[in-house]
């Protein structure tokens, strides 16, 4: 794999394709959880690999390539979420100022078996992002604050909300 990275750094598309094949599953898993839907996850995954190609020269091998790429996927997902959040704020302010105040209903319909990934996809994006970063990726609230630009207290509140909503959705 190190050889493939070196060859890709030299401009070898075939080597980069090999890296794509080896890592696309892990990158897509991250993107899918952050995005909560397939089209956006596919778009995000493409962005991650394009960004990886652009930044490949800066990869010095201090960490494993998989770790470097994973971090890139998280940063790209957070960046996309930030852009989307700005868009949502404007749409709400123009179209429906009360939208953000509506209670979130995650409880499945009778007979609907909800798994954790599906329940996470239904979370409000901010709560989903913090749940992924804290409870799946293992970041501390201070790190999440630095990554996402929200206060550590907000991160804690979002995590509390996410866990509560998920437990309700999974009926635990």
């Amino acid at each position: 794999m190190i050889d493939a990275v070196r060859r890709a750094q030299g401009g070898d598309h075939a080597a980069f394709h090999a890296l794509y094949r080896a890592h696309v599953g892990r990158v897509y898993a991250v993107c899918l959880r952050f995005a909560g839907n397939r089209p956006e996850a596919e778009e995000l995954t493409q962005n991650v690999f394009v960004r990886a190609w652009e930044k490949l020269e800066s990869f010095r091998g201090e960490s494993a390539f998989a770790t470097w790429l994973h971090r890139l996927a998280i940063n790209e997902s957070i960046g996309a979420r930030r852009s989307l959040s700005r868009r949502e704020q404007r749409v709400k302010s123009v179209e429906d100022p009360a939208a953000s105040e509506r209670p979130i209903q995650l409880t499945p319909s009778p007979g609907d078996v909800m798994d954790l990934d599906r329940a996470m996809a239904r979370l409000p994006a901010g709560a989903r992002q913090v749940f992924i970063l804290h409870d799946i990726e293992g970041y501390e609230h201070q790190e999440i604050a630095k990554l996402t630009g929200v206060a550590a207290g907000t991160s804690k509140a979002q995590l509390h909300r996410a866990r509560r909503l998920l437990r309700e959705a999974l009926q635990r």
């Binding site: 401009g11 394709h17 696309v24 962005n47 930044k55 020269e57 799946i136 995590l159």
Partner: protein, 210 residues
Amino acid sequence: MTCDEVRARLDEYFDETLADDERKVVAIHLKSCAGCRAELAALEALLADAAGLPKSILPERDLWEEIEQRLGERGTGRPGGGSNVRPWDRGTGWWLAAAAVLLMALSSLATAAWMRRGASLAAVAIAGPAEYARATADLIRQVQAEERSLSPATLAVIQRNLAIVDAAIRESEDAVARDPGNHGLQQMVLSCYEQRLNLLRQAVRAVRES
């Protein structure tokens, strides 16, 4: 401490971020309260599930073709180099990109009328990033297919102009990020994206006429 007070602290208790004195009080309460213990067990089960989620999920379709197209070269060029990612391949913010797609679909007159009705930039940004990618990719494909017929000077002019517009997009996006409620800035961003699309269209025309 009441059950409600204990349950409000279970996240921090589990995460071991609760202050020592509170932690002791919660621990004592848990020993004597089956209901709160059940709440803690449910939380533990949720987080065990989260830890056990698959680390790898393959997309349902192969994304490589679109990625390679965006890398912008046919098997040559170095990562990070200026030549392998062309100005027209530059990735951009989704909502702005989506807004640009809508602008493509609307005549300038219709767009102006829409804006006069007071819709915000984001409110009209309803088309998806995939649609934008497809529309842009079509224009790029047309340019790239016949690129060799362009003189180096013409190609350089096109690339230079796209680089200028891209720089303007970056600057105006940054300005909107600092002042998200500024409608004038939003329109400036839209204008930049419209210019970028017009440049791509002009590049296609240049290719056809060469």
